[in-house]
């Protein structure tokens, strides 16, 4: 029986895939250690190499898929935290528990930054039960204060994935069809202590189109993979990840900030689109305070709901009186950038580098070929096996220029990062229509000051 399934299931692996860069098989290759890659320069200094690595790290963050896809931007996400005994392990500093709470706080902030018209709720798994940490809602400060309150508690007992998933399902029960239903689990244990059959729960989750993503902190667990596979239409590779280190943990968790692309199967089930009412409230400035409808506190200024005329103190929110979604147009624009991602900028090699002497956005002068020559020599001076890895870095950051494929302007790496991560627009494309270049110097310097403040 088993042999037949293997012969059916196994994919013939082509020899090419198993070839390493040196020509032999992967396992015949010598191990590349990270400290072998780094080579000192003539003066014994590592500064140049470190700078190259930092550059490479920056570049790495930018290589993501930029195909525009249909995504659900009105998201409803439940974050599930493992608060069981296994989270008291100290393999992440100071403990898994504290670190995952810190990252969860960051996740909440980033999530609302990138998805202002979405909602979030938090559930904890402790003592075999699921505890509600905060209700599904759109106010990041409430969630963050609930997470901060968790810090003072201690992890205890076993986690129960089934209880947590059932509760998450209940929390997402009322979500209308135009919103996504998502669950993100930070799972530090290797077991789940469930009262019943978890496969049934997974079946109901699948039927209700709830998508589950899991970040494992210890090792790959079969049931986690199964949950992700079944709720994401067979795709468990991009939805279930086990962390390698703190940085990877953060990357895996923050990957959930991007709204999920809607798949063909799901959309064929719910054909057609529906309209949604939203209110763009007007801001008022008051000299004397008045009560807000959301918290019943005396507050100066706020926003007036266009339908029912009550005052709310912050946006985005749902009107406490008439239930209208109140947002600013900038929130909508910020949610939209996921639908139309800015294309990756190409690296410019030295042949084309002379065309621009300074960054189009921040006006800082680029490196010239001469000044960066020593750094190049350092990186190539490694042994032959290491040279491939190092030279990849070297060519990546060699000219320090990146060109937008549509407007052909060149930018420095910091502006590249800023444009892709915060601005989500190309300064060149926005300005360059009609062949104008001069007037954007002013605007571009403003952008560069914003860059420095953002990174400060």
């Amino acid at each position: 029986m088993r042999s037949t399934t293997r012969s059916n299931g196994a994919r013939p692996v082509s020899n090419l895939e198993l070839r390493s860069t040196a020509g032999g098989y992967i396992w015949e290759d010598s191990i590349q250690r990270s400290w072998d890659v780094v080579q000192e320069d003539a003066g014994g200094s590592l500064a140049g190499v470190v700078a190259e690595l930092v550059q490479a790290g920056k570049r790495k963050r930018l290589h993501y898929d930029t195909t525009p896809l249909q995504r659900g931007i009105i998201r409803h996400l439940i974050l599930v935290l493992d608060l069981s005994m296994s989270m008291s392990e100290k393999d992440l500093r100071p403990t898994r528990y504290q670190l995952s709470i810190s990252y969860a706080v960051q996740f909440v902030a980033d999530y609302f930054e990138q998805n202002p018209i979405s909602q979030l709720g938090i559930i904890g798994m402790r003592d075999g039960l699921a505890n509600l940490v905060s209700q599904l809602g759109g106010n990041p400060t409430e969630h963050i204060s609930a997470l901060q309150a968790l810090r003072k508690q201690e992890p205890s007992g076993d986690p129960s994935l089934q209880n947590a998933l059932e509760m998450a399902r209940g929390g997402l029960y009322h979500v209308p069809s135009h919103g996504t239903k998502e669950v993100v689990i930070i799972f530090g244990s290797l077991l789940s202590c469930d009262p019943g059959d978890i496969h049934k729960t997974v079946g109901t989750l699948k039927a209700e189109h709830v998508r589950v993503r899991i970040v494992g902190l210890a090792a790959e667990v079969a049931i986690c993979k199964e949950i992700c596979r079944r709720t994401n239409e067979g795709d468990s590779t991009s939805t279930y990840g086990v962390i390698l280190n703190e940085q990877h943990f953060k990357e895996l968790l923050l990957a959930s900030c991007t709204p999920p692309a809607s798949t063909k199967q799901k959309s064929s089930a719910s054909l057609g689109s529906d309209l949604m009412r939203m209110g763009f409230p007007s801001r008022i400035v008051e000299t004397s305070p008045s009560f807000c409808a959301c918290h019943s506190r005396l507050i100066k200024g706020g926003y007036i709901c266009p339908r029912c005329k009550v005052k709310v103190c912050s946006l985005p929110t749902e009107c406490p009186a008439c239930g209208l979604t109140l947002i600013l147009s900038t929130h909508l624009a910020r949610s939209y950038h996921h639908l139309m991602p800015l294309r990756n900028w190409d690296e410019v090699d030295w042949n084309d580098a002379k065309k621009a002497s300074s960054c189009f956005a921040c006006q800082l002068p680029f490196l010239t070929a001469l000044s960066s020559a020593p750094r190049l020599r350092v990186s190539v001076s490694g042994s032959t096996t290491n040279a491939t890895a190092v030279s990849a870095i070297a060519t990546g950051g060699a000219s320090g220029r990146f060109r937008c494929p549509s407007c052909k302007q060149m930018f420095c790496i910091d502006c590249d990062l800023f444009a892709h991560e915060i601005l989500h627009n190309c300064p060149g494309c926005e300005a360059a229509a009609g062949g104008r270049k001069l007037s954007n110097g002013q605007a571009a310097t403003e952008v560069s000051t914003a860059t420095t403040s953002a990174y400060a």
Binding site: T5, A130, P195, T263, S290, C308, K309
Partner: protein, 596 residues
């Protein structure tokens, strides 16, 4: 039906009677204050009903006091004290004959209602997660759930008493806007714990003697904290411990039992720890093997395996030649335990056989080398409209303006500024005066900017501080009233809008007139509060009466407007409907007039 068996007994110091009706398999204890005869058939008053008994322990014959401990299947224990030993023996015999103690008596008692003592035990032991009771109608109908939610949430209780109790908002209306909260609460209540390895969770904490007693230089002590839940879970998971407990506890004190248990070899073995030579031997008899031991020479299977000719790899999980006893015993214990845990879950899940088989098959299939499934997403085809905003003509206009007017002026100004800067005498004020056309506009702009900053700052500080705290006593009272009325007003507005926008004609017709009166009342209430505050403060300072009124009214002006606009909208809609109705009627009559 047999006559009930009655024995006088003390329960926690109170006099009463144990009643055993054999036909119903029910044991009751009735305090003597309650009339026994009048109680017959109508169920116990103030008594303890025990549906299923798990164990009965009587104190030993040498013991002076005749005590009987009854353990229910929920592991709640009741200890009764009987007047004489003869009574105790009689009760024991009666209980045995009534067959309430037999562990297999579950079908007999299945139809009975659970006892109050059992039902209060703990919420984590409920039978199943409800999957159906999550719909809106179910939640709205579940009054006990709503009650328990109100009990757990103080703010909500306040709102409920304000709106529903105080101002006759229909209960369903109140809950209709809070269904997601109710659903979460029902899930919180309904979930229960799965079986787990209890002993692994109990970790002894070492504590020096000095800490415990306050004296210096003491010896180290191991502390183990045990909750009743944990004890119950140990009993369920390890029947052998329960047996030991039942047999030994009347002579032993409970704490001594547990301290001896945690030091025993049995405990170590159950935990799956290594047992060394130095470990203390249990002086109680070996309780590990529940099954009767088969003598070696009579054990056919063992003899077959014990063939020196066949000695290959060992027929156990290690599959090695040399035995590793300690490792093996640990593995066996852990395997046995996990089998037990899984079995207890499966028994409850009760899947059909073929489904179980399928699951097993699915678990066996190796999926590591499966081809990576690619999910097909829906691509978007974007056309960046470059011509609309950045159209050439538009830019040309801007260009023209820039080149014609401002740019030349700006460059001139720049040049002059550079000149004055380069000449060393030029300081910034003179520079400004030379560059900026008139100082009055600058002053105006400056004051505007500062005003904005001030108002912004006060808004921000106010936001962090919350309410104004520098209020007088009368202000504080007024504020409290106002806040409550404001909250109630918003609450009614919320129900008004939800009914209006619900799209259900029945709900709108039945609910709206009631709600609109409440909305209007809220408005009146707020106005009354403002007026009352102003009139009560009028004699103090009549000069700034209107100013005071303006200040206080300002707090709620927006709310008043919102209430007003809701009422206006309602009456406009009603008027529209009426006009439409009249128009339709008149059309009908004209039609009727023309028809004959």
């Amino acid at each position: 039906m047999q006559a009930p068996f009655l024995v006088p007994a003390l329960y926690s110091g109170k006099k009463g009677t144990i009643r055993l009706s054999s036909g119903r398999n029910v044991v009751e204890w009735i305090p003597s204050a309650a009339p026994i005869d009048g109680n017959d058939g109508s169920g116990p008053v103030n008594g303890t009903v025990v549906v299923r008994l798990d164990n009965i322990t009587a104190s030993t014959a040498t013991n002076e006091k005749a005590r009987l401990r009854i353990t229910t299947t929920c592991h709640t224990q009741f200890t009764f004290e009987l007047p004489t030993r003869a009574n105790l023996e009689a009760l024991k015999a009666a209980l045995a004959s009534a067959n309430v103690t037999s562990p297999s008596s579950s079908p007999a008692s299945a139809g009975l209602t659970p006892a109050p003592a059992a039902s209060k035990s703990d919420p984590t032991r409920r039978l199943a997660i409800p999957t159906k009771g999550l719909s809106d109608t179910d939640l709205l109908a579940d009054r006990t759930l709503q009650l328990s939610f109100l009990r757990s949430n103080g703010d909500l209780r306040q709102q409920f008493s304000d709106a529903v109790v105080g101002q006759q908002l229909p209960c369903d209306e109140f809950w209709r806007t809070r269904i997601p909260l109710l659903r979460m609460h029902s899930l919180v209540l309904a979930q229960r714990r799965g079986p787990y390895n209890v002993l692994a969770t109990i970790k002894p904490v070492s504590k020096t003697h000095s800490e415990a007693t306050g004296e210096g230089g003491g010896t180290a002590q191991m502390m183990v904290s045990l909750s009743p839940d944990k004890i119950r879970d140990i009993f369920v998971q390890y029947p052998v411990v329960r047996r030991a407990y039942d047999e030994n506890v009347p002579p032993l004190v409970e704490t001594t039992f547990w301290s001896r248990f945690f030091l025993s070899k049995l405990c170590r073995r159950l935990r799956g720890e290594k047992i060394g030579f130095n470990d203390a031997q249990d002086n109680q008899r070996e309780l590990q093997n529940e099954n009767a031991k088969i003598m070696r020479f009579a054990d056919v299977e063992a003899n077959e395996m014990d063939d020196s000719q066949r000695a290959g790899n060992r027929p156990d999980i290690t599959m090695r030649q040399t035995p590793h006893n300690d490792a093996l015993s640990i593995m066996r214990t852990m395997n046995k335990l996990s089998q037990k845990i899984v079995a207890s879950v499966e028994r409850e899940a009760q899947q059909p056989l073929e489904e179980q088989e399928q699951l097993k098959q699915r678990g066996l299939v190796l999926q590591d080398l499966d081809p990576v499934t690619t999910v097909s997403h829906i691509g978007l085809h974007l056309h960046r409209s470059t011509h609309s905003l950045h159209s050439a003509t538009a830019w040309k206009d801007v260009d023209a303006v820039a080149t014609d007017g401002n740019e030349s002026g700006a460059s001139k100004m720049l040049e002059s500024m550079i000149d004055s800067c380069s000449s060393s005498s030029g300081s910034i004020p003179t520079l400004l005066s030379s560059a900026v056309p008139s100082s009055s506009t600058v002053c105006h702009a400056q004051s505007q900017v500062f005003n904005l900053i001030h108002s912004r700052r006060s808004t921000e500080s106010n936001r962090h501080k919350g309410d104004d705290s520098d209020n007088s006593a009368s202000d504080a009272v007024m504020m409290r009233d106002m806040k409550l009325s404001h909250t109630a007003g918003i609450e009614f507005l919320r129900h008004f809008w939800s009914a209006l926008l619900s799209g259900e004609p029945s709900r709108a017709v039945s609910g709206l007139p009631l709600l609109i009166t409440s909305v209007e009342k809220s408005k009146m209430r707020l106005e009354t509060i403002v007026d009352r505050h102003v009139t009560s403060n009028a004699f103090q300072d009549p000069a700034n009466l209107s100013q005071e009124k303006k200040r206080v009214q300002g707090y709620v002006q927006i709310t008043l407007d919102a209430l007003q606009s809701a009422a206006k909208m309602y009456y406009d809609l009603v008027k529209e409907q009426q006009e439409a109705f009249i128009a339709a009627q008149s059309e009908n009559t004209t039609l009727a007039g023309t028809l004959p």
